[in-house]
Symmetry: C2
Subunit: 540 residues, 2 copies
């Protein structure tokens, strides 16, 4: 069972499906290749000698020195390389669980096939653990590999070691954020993240709450604006008030949903035209607000989008902020996708004026890769969340406490401390690490935008503000279906299990691909590889 590596000897002591124990002997400067262990835990005990462990996660590279008796632990989701620094060395490796190399699953799967592959039915008598584990493995195996660098379909990609570690804490502590007494430490984690985000935004004071997704943060913005505008709203509702909400035609659909759910009705939503770059047109906003005011309607909220879903466009926050201030309208900025630019000195100009906004949606589970969901509603009005959301009748739960129980600010009662996922990432990377990450992604975008413009069969739809690369693929020959070709390409690339990118359609019905740059390991070679594949697609 001995295998000769280039410069070290590897001896498998025990090999089972569930774990593996390996012994290695090393000479000076011998090193393993850069590798990862998929979802396995990897622990290496230094039995003799001095070693360097180099580990890479998306945000940065870390070097550590280990001596005899110490253990190098590489967390799941991280690549590493071990190098012997002493004249010779000996190591003992334990891998748990020992998983078969996982296949990347990006191709489509239909309902009939899933039902054949996974036994979804629950039975009367239940199943033993081994059978249960096997079904869970099948669910994992046939689910999308969102951890692949070729997964570009959503506004997130990749699973980080930090996310996994933070989630383990949540699963094991399993406590509720409703009260400080049930979540003393985790309540402070949420408060800390809110406070620090407020400082990065540039507000003098901040209140905020973790909400179940960016849509919910947008709902909460409307709710807080309403609370501030109408004195007796909480008791009397909105009956009799004609209220309008203004968002770009490129804004997220959750604003329309918010108007319906919050009882205003979708007629309350006024959509503002966007310019050719997908940015809200100030002239149209100004006109439509005036029109509403003339009709005696109340302009309640204006929402700017920082990073639209399709084109990644940034609305002119500064101009909107000045306008809203003059008119006394609540300005909300939906930064679910583009919010991370607040961390970048180089790219923060995209969201200039954010410090004048009343509230902000920030999804740490998008670009920054926190677990789904890790969303924050943030506002500089520090009392409005409590005013809008605290009700009587919770005294069975909310006792006297050293701080305001977080449940009183929320629409949820029992909930997990989702904030810890982003806290762990931020703590690990540091503020500068988050900045570097944004800057590096933006550089990949820039390189690719330039490259695409030189390719005769690739048509860049807009020069991207942010990390959405929207490209039409032209068919290989004239006379072929130009409008539908990009969708055909998308489907073929999925069928071949190469990549999963999303698509959209221009008003004239032409389809185009939307590649999202979010995976921490993305680089220009990977993006260009995808376009290479796209160009190779034929009719088949």
């Amino acid at each position: 069972m001995t295998k000769m590596g280039l410069t070290y000897t590897r001896n498998i002591l025990v090999q089972t499906k569930e774990f593996e124990i390996v012994s290695c002997e090393w000479q000076k400067d011998s090193a393993s290749a850069l590798h990862n262990h998929d979802w396995s835990l990897c622990h290496v005990l230094v039995q003799e000698g001095v070693f360097e462990n180099e580990s890479h996660n998306g945000y940065r590279t870390e070097f550590s020195i280990y001596e005899t008796g110490q253990v190098m632990s590489t967390p799941r989701g991280v690549e590493h390389r071990i190098k012997c620094l002493s004249a010779k060395g000996k190591t003992l490796h334990v891998y748990v669980p020992k998983l078969a190399e996982s296949k990347t699953h990006l191709s489509p799967i239909n309902i009939a096939d899933i039902k054949k592959l996974v036994d979804l039915k629950v039975s009367n008598k239940g199943v033993k653990w081994n059978e249960l584990s096997s079904e869970l493995s099948k669910i994992r195996e046939h689910s999308l590999s969102t951890n692949s660098v070729y997964f570009m379909n959503q506004l997130f990609s990749g699973v980080s070691a930090e996310t996994i570690a933070a989630d383990e804490v949540l699963t094991q502590t399993k406590t509720t954020m409703a009260t400080f007494e049930a979540s003393p430490v985790l309540s402070l984690v949420e408060v800390e993240v809110v406070k620090q985000l407020g400082e990065v935004i540039g507000w003098q004071q901040t209140e905020g709450i973790t909400v179940p997704g960016g849509s919910s943060a947008n709902f909460m913005a409307l709710h807080c604006a309403r609370q501030r505008r109408f004195e007796n709203y909480k008791e009397e509702g909105l009956a009799g008030n004609k209220v309008k909400v203004f968002v770009s035609e490129e804004a997220h659909y959750s604003f329309r949903k918010a108007c319906i759910v919050l009882g205003l009705g979708s007629n309350a939503l006024v959509t503002i035209k966007a310019d050719e770059n997908g940015r809200l047109l100030m002239s149209d906003l100004s006109e439509k607000v005036s029109h509403a005011v003339q009709k005696g309607e109340v302009p309640l909220l204006v929402a700017a989008t920082a990073g639209t879903t399709v084109f990644g466009a940034f609305d002119p926050v500064k101009e909107m902020a000045a306008f809203c201030k003059a008119q006394g309208i609540w300005l909300h900025v939906d930064g679910a996708w583009g919010g991370p630019v607040i961390f970048s000195k180089q790219h923060r100009h995209l969201i200039d004026g954010i410090q004048m906004a009343d509230s902000f949606t920030f999804d740490a589970h998008k670009l920054f890769g926190a677990n789904l969901t890790c969303s924050f509603f943030l506002t500089k009005h520090t009392t409005v969340l409590l005013e809008a959301n605290d009700v009587s009748g919770g005294d069975y739960l909310f006792h006297e406490s050293e701080m305001v129980d977080r449940g009183r600010l929320s629409w949820q009662c029992g909930r997990q401390a989702e904030a810890i996922s982003f806290w762990t990432i931020w703590k690990s990377a540091g503020t500068s690490g988050l900045e570097n990450f944004v800057d590096r992604m933006m550089k990949v975008r820039e390189e690719n935008a330039a490259w695409i413009q030189q390719q005769p069969r690739l048509k860049l739809l807009k020069n991207p503000d942010y990390l959405n690369i929207c490209v039409q693929i032209l068919p290989p020959r004239a006379g072929m279906d130009e409008a539908g070709w990009s969708l055909h390409v998308r489907n073929q690339l999925r069928e071949k299990n190469l990549t999963m990118v999303n698509y959209s359609t221009t008003p004239d019905g032409t389809t185009f691909l939307r590649l999202i740059l979010a995976h921490p390991k993305i680089n220009s070679e990977i993006v260009q590889q995808i376009f290479q594949w796209a160009l190779e697609v034929g009719l088949e």
Copy 2:
């Protein structure tokens, strides 16, 4: 390093903080004690002989036979015992990570102490993995041990192996339930759980959606009732309609919050008196609905509570259903806490009439111990969720699909497949396992209620319908503060790190303890031990 057990020899081969490798030699019928490994993974390779592994999780005991070359894996959160069936045997054990025995943390902790114990601040340059891991361990260590059988403060207790396994799948797949194409298998898991729950309820057809907590399910009920009642509601909102919502004074505070958030205003909420057992009074409901109708108001929704937060009372669902049917009012049943009785032939009578309800809140994270949160809004009106929640503007995301994308039924866009947590528990225990669990807990309640009534210093506030044991502790001597004594006892038991139980107050200001029976390992001895401690509390 050899330690002689009673009947087997244990030889520690490698011991580090991160993992441990142990070799054991056995004789026929020698067995380990029943033990667990806290948050460690335990894998045992049979190197020689035949072994039986007996494992206990909350729902049941499982026996499996293993032969040479096979591995017995005991998941986290499970107790097990190994027994040698052959003349002699040899096993190799791998434990990862090797954790120090964890202390149970139930005592209060203040903000200043937390800040000393955990470094909550994020820095500019970040921290290395070892430091990050250490901070996460500290967060876990100083958070409440909700896995302790002495944690009875919330409407849940215990962390199961199933929950941990399901969560691992979610963390690693990290995909969104918004669309079928992003979550093909997990969408079917959600659909399956909804369908099966509907069958247990007794509805002929069911639609439902996972929502972020029981409060959200109650919000959704109001939203769907409104959608059904007012034809142009979605476009026009509720302006001009005088709408009333009827709930018991013992109902969850989320109904009041729902009225505010959904734009009706808290004045829309009419509270109905409860009888001496905490159950809604039909006569008062009937009177208040008539009164509203006379005033030209629209009675939109009546909510019955199945298992109130304080007393665990069940409103008379059957009478309410008949009344609502006659009046054409939407009947919602909030079964967040008491809903599990639908699984018990013996106790289902508590919720009799449920099949006539229009909608149901079911929290799998409460009694059944799924991860926080795993909540379902269920309705027999199969089209109402789509009617109420689908909006235009999501075409960048919702493409043609083999099934309706789940995001179109939801208030959330990106979200995890929380349903898998309950699916895993249900799949493991089986429907009969869930039934047995409810019945066993109810038996513990019965035994304790009888026992308490014999104790001179324990005063049972109500004969419990369900798993809330509400008891006033009388002080040891006459003349001591009787009203505040139970709260004093509660605080003392926490200070001593013995137990965490919640408390509440009667209208006359007398405090009492509320013990929640939910932990799968609870039994009468444990409950009586807690009362024994409670009786021993002095003035100190």
